[in-house]
Symmetry: C2
Subunit: 213 residues, 2 copies
């Protein structure tokens, strides 16, 4: 191996790099085809062909067709979990979560065009935006777990999984991100995504007060 790949979770042998490449190719093909033809008209066969693998292989990577439109980066959850656990102690749980998500989203914007297409595809078929919850639900459970750990300090979440508060926090933050994406997708010219994102978390931290206007 001559060159480390750029990302955090990268590295490993040829096998793992190939797998990541295949997965990325499938995701990207799915998003581009959906942006062009509409998500409903894109078959698994078309996605697989565009990525140069068989249909059967597609289903080795994704549990369902929709998942390919939704989960752009499979490792994001693990990275966010790590970020929450490593966040400075003075941050509130909500702020720690906000920072973890902001970092992830900022990185996603590096592939600006794909990210924009992705937002448009989700906005065009709310069905998929919803499905995103499903795909991200595991990640949310992970985040809830991380928050619970952070609150307790030790390595024990209490046996019965994270409590009500961590789960609520993770679920609400997820909803906030999706709302931000959807809103930004409809107003791309008027505001930067990160501005929308921060406005949303400010509203959350303030307890969702009625706007003064």
């Amino acid at each position: 191996m001559q060159l480390m790949s750029e990302k955090g979770a990268a590295g490993g042998g040829l096998r793992e790099r190939k797998k990541r490449a295949t997965r990325a190719a499938l995701s990207e093909a799915a998003v581009r085809l959906a942006a062009e033809h509409g998500a409903e008209k894109v078959t698994v066969e078309a996605i697989s062909a565009a990525a140069g693998v068989s249909v059967r292989t597609f289903f080795n990577y994704f549990d369902s067709r929709d998942e390919a439109f939704v989960v752009i980066d499979a490792d994001a959850g693990a990275r966010m979990r790590h970020a929450v656990l490593e966040a400075p102690a003075h941050l509130s749980p909500l702020a720690a979560l906000r920072e973890a998500m902001a970092a992830e989203l900022a990185e996603a914007e590096q592939q600006h065009e794909l990210w924009r297409l992705h937002a448009e595809v989700l906005h065009a078929s709310p069905h998929l935006l919803a499905r995103g919850v499903g795909a991200h639900m595991a990640a949310e459970a992970d985040l809830a777990d991380a928050i619970a750990l952070r609150l307790r300090g030790d390595g024990d979440t209490g046996g019965d999984g994270p409590g009500l508060y961590p789960r609520l926090l993770a679920a609400v933050a997820g909803a906030a991100v999706r709302t931000s994406m959807d809103h930004w997708s409809a107003h791309q010219e008027e505001a930067a995504f990160l501005d929308v994102f921060h406005e949303v978390f400010t509203l959350l931290a303030a307890g969702l007060p009625a706007p003064s206007a």
Copy 2:
């Protein structure tokens, strides 16, 4: 017609009553079968047979198999929208939403056994809890619209659909309800559902502060 049915949206001719009955029979059959055998093992054919209709008819009522597990009451969205619009002016948007949802959930608990089974089914396959977002997304958009109307006072939402705040409010409230259901479903003996529900909205209104403990 000799007797008015009990519910708000009830009434109408024989046709409408039959449709409601068929839909309810399909929903109930789906939930009961899922509670018994696990949602993944329940086919559309089994649900249809249990409800006494053909498979084709099932798909006249639901867009997908999962929808039958998720949407127990198709009119709930419209009722909540109405409740938000009619809520006392002194309530904050969040409180108005909370009251509308609480009323709906209290009514759902009248069919206690079915409601409990429903919560268990969703808890057992998070896949479906997620799908719930999809099914309820239209309702959430409606709620966002109602909140926007309420905030403006007149009959105009501003042309471009509800703004960021109403949408965020509806999405977060939806996430809160789902979290409540999931948590309560795992701790049914320890707390009443409405207690969990109110605790969640209290946390939201307080801006999700770190718990003192």
